[in-house]
Structure formats: structure tokens, C-alpha cells
Symmetry: C2
Subunit: 335 residues, 2 copies
């Protein structure tokens, strides 16, 4: 089971991507196909050929953040993103990992792999660190305006992700709202609520923003606009807290000692909030496993994303989603 | 200039409310009218009559969180909330402060004071602590579904609040969105964007969740659903971080020292995030100044809210809003 890695994607490609792929080969014994400009990749490998887990597929074109994804993926058939998707489509790779343009990965995956039947729009998942492990939050940006039944599809996919990849049995699914009572919500969530009640998901009702972090919910469902605001709010707050603690600690020596422990803990948390840095963000709803990484991903982030991709493939995430949505949202999940 | 304080509102009323009012009398020389059950208030005053700044208006009925606000404010004419609003309407008080039912205060203010002409729906404001002071965030819960022009009205009211009460000249107003580019947004914000451009507000375009805390925006505009999710996400994240730092510090002695500084700093931040605890949440758009406090408000929170009410009254916030919206959103703000 090989994993295709877009060697040209990200701010520090191909250097950190190649490093991350090599780490995954070594640490997980994971076969990887590096997709990108062959010469550039060889240059990064720097003569290193100590692993037979590494293949290269030549794809010299690059899709940048500045071009229209829909146009670029049609025109640049030999781009690293499009070729990575093709490898998954052709069965050469079990999954793909890319730190390239998020729009490019989405467009290439939609065009190349297609949507899973019964899924209207794919969603991007973020695993938010919580006091009890992690909360699956979706959608975090693929769909700014949603229909109620799309939130139901997100809930089904998120629940399967929590179960199959994170090993949470009968995951608690909640609708992110402005209050816990079932009368709370906006038009969208009020309409989605009864639909979610009808599924056989472990739907626990509405939950509030604070429940993302306290471990009372496994899967939190929202539209991509709200999901993006939540992620950015979390990042911004963590950054602000780091600055504030730093200011406090400049006041005296004892406080300086405080910084020794507090600031690294806060920084670690902020890093984990940056979903793409932490195991990547799975794109759910397309016919294949695609893990999106942040453009600024480190080698470690790429390695973690490869691990996420492998876990999703090993646990047949796509097959499970396909089975669950084929019969509509009423089909039992978690059995 | 007297301020009416709902003595019966809040989890710890009338005790903490009376204490908070007394503190405001002493500290700010602010005349206060305590509105509520006279005997209960006297009991809390415990014979204390050291200030001539304190009056009592007898209003024995209480509106609880469990009753329908719209029904309760019509039926309980002698409730502390309704009587407080009446004092403002009759010009006996320049503003009111209540830690009672938020819905009750809103309903009573709407019924008793009416909306400012040109304002469709009142909004609740939260002042979020940021690296450069505070960010005015609105709406944080009064209106879950909004129309584009309502966001424009929120922007005008928020800008005036930042200018008149917080002393920020030509406040930077932004639309909370899922990206900074003007092409980002959901249906609502994409439609509000050009309307905001047409105003003479200092509209700086779209901003992201992280900009709430980094001091680059003075007034952040969103619908009440998103605003509520932002507030609760912030509260939840701050709480989770406190727990995580505590776990870290249990590891060794040096780390324990760290907690001495870090945890109080974090707790302080979380407290400030709880808008109602920190100076109260102004209800903007009604014909009078109403400051809503959290039900769990401390005496200090009540005192701070009285200060906020006084600043809003002194700076003629309502008159400014009235003038600004009467001529429609094009009227210059900040001049």
C-alpha cells in the first residue's frame, strides 16, 4: 500500500516534503511515491537511496495558489497535484498527501476521483485538540453556505472518521449552535436538527463553542464559514495568550520561570490547533483518500499526514462512507 | 444622572447587586436607583445608609430565566426589569443595568424604549480583550439570522460605541469572514460587503477570526450565531488551556512555579472573555442605554457595568446612533 506525496506542494517544497516522506519511510516502513520534478527531488535526496520504499513519479508542473484551481487542474495534467490524484484513481497509491494549493487539491480530487455517491459536497475535517484527546470538526472551509442535508452528510462522514481512523466507538455527534437547547440555532441548524435526529448516528443534539475543547463531543458539525471562524479564532486566541503570558513574565524573575513552562505549553497547543500542521486535514466525500496539509508544513507535519493517510486507507474509510451514504442517512453507523 | 440597577437580577441577587451598586456609589460618586423588593434590598443594606447617592424603587416581581420574556414583561409590570426600563423611559434614570434574564431585558427594552428609528434589530455588543486593548464584537447573540443591511446597522452602532465610549477615533470596522480577500465570505457577508463599502465608516474589509485578538480591528461585525460561537469558543479554549498548563505544571517543582504566573494570567483572560463579567454587554439599537450582565456576575462586575452605563450616557451614545442612522448608512461617522 503506497501513498502518493505531492513533492512540489507547500512553501518549502520539495525540501521539507522529501524529508517528511523519508521520515515516514523510515519510521513507519511506509512505501511512498514522491510526485514532482524528478531532478529537483533527486537533488533533495542528495544521492541518498537507502530505502527501497521510495519511488519517484515525474510531474514537472506546479499549480500555484494564485491560479484558478478549476482551470489549473484541467490545463496542468502533468502537475504534481493532478498526477498524485491520478495515482490514487489508478490504484497505484492508496491515498495522497499534498501541502499544495487547497483549492487545487479539492478541484483535482473532485475532477479525478469524483464524489462518493450520495455525498453532495466534500468537506474538510480538522481534528481539534481537546481535554480528552481530539474533536472532529467539519466542515472547516470547503463549503461556506450549506443546506441542512449537507450538514447531515458531514455528520455521517465525521462519525465514520472518528470511528474508523480515531477508534472511537459510537462517536457522540453534535451540531455546533448558539445554545444547547433544541430551540436554539439559526435557520440552517434548526432545519438540520430533526434530520440528524432521524439518523442512527449517536446524535447528542446541539453543543456550544466551548464543547469543542472540553471532550464532551466527538464530532462537531457546522458549515464551512463557521468552521473557518472557529479555527482562526482558536489560533488567534492562543497567539494572543502567548503574548500576554510573555508580558506578564517580563515583570520579575519568578515570572520568568513561569514562562519556561507556560509558553511552550501554549505554543504546543497553538501548533496542534493548526490542523494542517497536525496530521493534515482529510478531505472527505471524494472517492479516494486525500490529506491536505498547510502550505507552511514542516517535515514532521508531512510525516504525520502520511500516517493519517495510511490509517484512513488501512481502515477502509472510503468504503465505509460509501456503504453508509448509499442507503441514505438512516443507515446505522457504528454497528 | 442616575443609573437604574435591577437589584433582583442574577444568580446572587440581591446581595451582590447591592454590593456592586454601593461600590459604584463610593468609587465613582455615581447616583444609583436600586430597583427591586424594598425589604430584601434594605436587608442587604443592613442598616447602611452612609450614602445619599442611593435610592430604592420598590418592584417586588421577578422575571426568571424560565419564563417567556415576551409574555413575562407584559404581565409583570412591577418586575424589577420592567420598572428599571420605565425609569429610563421616564427620564428618571440615564441608563439601566441588569444581570437578570437577557431575553427579559431585551424584551422589556424593546417594548418600553422602542427601537431607534432606522435600526431594524438591536444587537448585543461584547468587548473582547485584544493585544492592543479591546475589540468591539457584535452581534453576539441577539440575532441568529441576519440580513445584509442589518450587519451594516451593527457596523454603524459598533463604530459609534468604539468612538464615543472607548474613545477610539475613526474606528477600523471589519466584517468577520473566512478570509481577508473580498471574494471570501458566505452569502450574507458577500452581500453586506459592498453595502459597508458605501458607508463612510472606516471599513477595512474582511477580517478573520484571529484578528479579533491581535488588535488590527476595532469593530468586528458578524451575525449573532457566529458571534455566540466565537465567544463560546474563546471561553472554552481559555478553560482548556488552563487545564493543560495545570497538567504540565504538576510534573515538577520548577513547573509549579510556572503555574504561579501562567494560570492566573490565563484565568484573568478567560474572565475578560466573559463579556458580561467585564463591564457588561451593551444592548444597542433601543432608545435608551441598557447594559446586560451575566447571571453569575460578581459585585465587581455590577460595578463595572454601572461604569460602562455611565460612560455611554455621558457620551450621548444613543443620540449619536440616532443621528447617524436617521439619514441612512451613508452619513459620515467619526466626524
Amino acid at each position: 500500500m503506497k501513498i502518493a506525496v505531492d513533492a512540489m506542494g507547500g512553501d518549502f517544497a520539495p525540501g521539507v516534503v522529501v524529508s517528511g516522506a523519508l521520515e515516514a519511510c523510515r519510521e513507519y516502513k511506509q512505501p511512498v511515491i514522491l510526485v514532482g520534478d524528478e531532478a529537483a527531488i533527486h537533488n533533495e535526496l542528495n544521492g541518498y537511496s537507502g530505502t527501497d520504499l521510495l519511488e519517484i513519479v515525474h510531474a514537472p508542473e506546479v499549480i500555484s495558489n494564485n491560479e484558478s484551481p478549476a482551470v489549473a487542474v484541467r490545463r496542468k495534467k502533468n502537475s504534481s497535484i493532478v498526477r498524485s490524484v491520478s495515482l490514487v484513481k489508478e490504484g497505484e497509491a492508496a491515498a495522497l498527501v499534498s501541502a499544495g494549493s487547497t483549492g487545487g487539491v479539492m478541484a483535482a480530487a473532485l475532477l479525478g476521483l469524483g464524489r462518493i455517491k450520495g455525498i453532495d459536497r466534500p468537506a474538510i475535517v480538522s481534528i481539534i485538540p481537546s481535554l480528552k484527546g481530539g474533536t472532529v470538526l467539519l466542515d472547516v472551509g470547503a463549503n461556506v453556505d450549506c443546506k441542512p442535508y449537507q450538514l447531515v452528510q458531514f455528520a455521517i462522514m465525521g462519525s465514520l472518521y472518528a470511528e474508523k481512523v480515531m477508534g472511537i466507538s459510537f462517536p457522540r455527534v453534535a451540531l455546533l449552535s448558539n445554545g444547547e437547547e433544541d430551540t436554539k440555532g439559526n435557520e440552517l441548524t434548526l432545519a438540520a436538527y430533526p434530520l440528524l435526529k432521524m439518523t442512527e448516528l449517536n446524535f447528542i443534539g446541539n453543543a456550544e463553542g466551548r464543547d469543542i475543547f472540553n471532550g464532551t463531543v466527538d464530532v462537531m458539525v457546522c458549515d464551512g464559514f463557521v468552521g473557518n471562524v472557529v479555527l482562526k479564532t482558536g489560533e488567534g486566541l492562543a497567539s494572543a495568550l502567548i503574548e500576554m503570558v510573555k508580558e506578564e513574565v517580563n515583570k520579575n524573575m519568578l515570572a520568568k520561570l513561569g514562562a519556561l513552562i507556560a509558553v511552550p505549553a501554549l505554543k504546543n497547543f497553538r501548533r496542534r490547533l493548526d490542523y494542517a500542521e497536525y496530521g493534515g486535514a482529510p478531505l472527505l466525500g471524494v472517492n479516494g483518500i486525500a490529506i491536505i496539509c498547510h502550505g507552511s508544513s514542516s517535515a514532521r507535519a508531512i510525516k504525520n499526514a502520511i500516517r493519517t493517510a495510511r490509517e484512513a486507507a488501512e481502515n477502509n474509510l472510503i468504503g465505509s462512507i460509501r456503504d453508509s451514504v448509499q442507503d441514505g442517512p438512516r443507515r446505522e453507523v457504528g454497528s
